[in-house]
Amino acid sequence: GIQVEQSPPDLILQEGANSTLRCNFSDSVNNLQWFHQNPWGQLINLFYIPSGTKQNGRLSATTVATERYSLLYISSSQTTDSGVYFCAAGRDLTGGGNKLTFGTGTQLKVEL
């Protein structure tokens, strides 16, 4: 199956700093999603981005499918950005949907 690796595993930032989180995946995919897990454990859908670039406020993401990686950019970080960021990748082989394989996450802490 698809392997997904994320880096760095941990990141501490001062409020206002920018950061880049990376996700490498081992095979071609038709689904690549980024999630933020909040302190209550909920998975907040940030981006569906199997290729190309998208932006949403202070967050943006880029996936280079041919090189099998995706980047999540956080600009002007705020304390509310703290939490775990997961990348998940999937590929529909059977026509019955695509299971997502999650990475191990990046634990982000933003300090005042």
């Binding site: 689904n31 569906y48 026509g95 019955g96 695509n98 299971k99 999650f102 191990t104």
Partner: protein, 116 residues
Amino acid sequence: EPEVTQTPSHQVTQMGQEVILRCVPISNHLYFYWYRQILGQKVEFLVSFYNNEISEKSEIFDDQFSVERPDGSNFTLKIRSTKLEDSAMYFCASSGALGQKPYEQYFGPGTRLTVT
């Protein structure tokens, strides 16, 4: 905006008991999934369901687990005889309306299952 809902938000059960976790997927979606996350670990795929049958399952999804879509709106995960190691957050997800590709998945808020 349509969303996936799950009930209950937290369930405590004794080892050996049966539990049913409930999900209401987005109403026009056709593909349904269950995932779990043991505390401090990554999210793991359990099962996908399409056209009233399981389309794929992981090795975690053994005979103790079953899924059902009993009516047009609910999607359930049953654990027949819970073990301590079943304690985890369980997420339901759905994707793919008619005519759409099934790829982008929308997750519910999760049910935290604690087995004592």
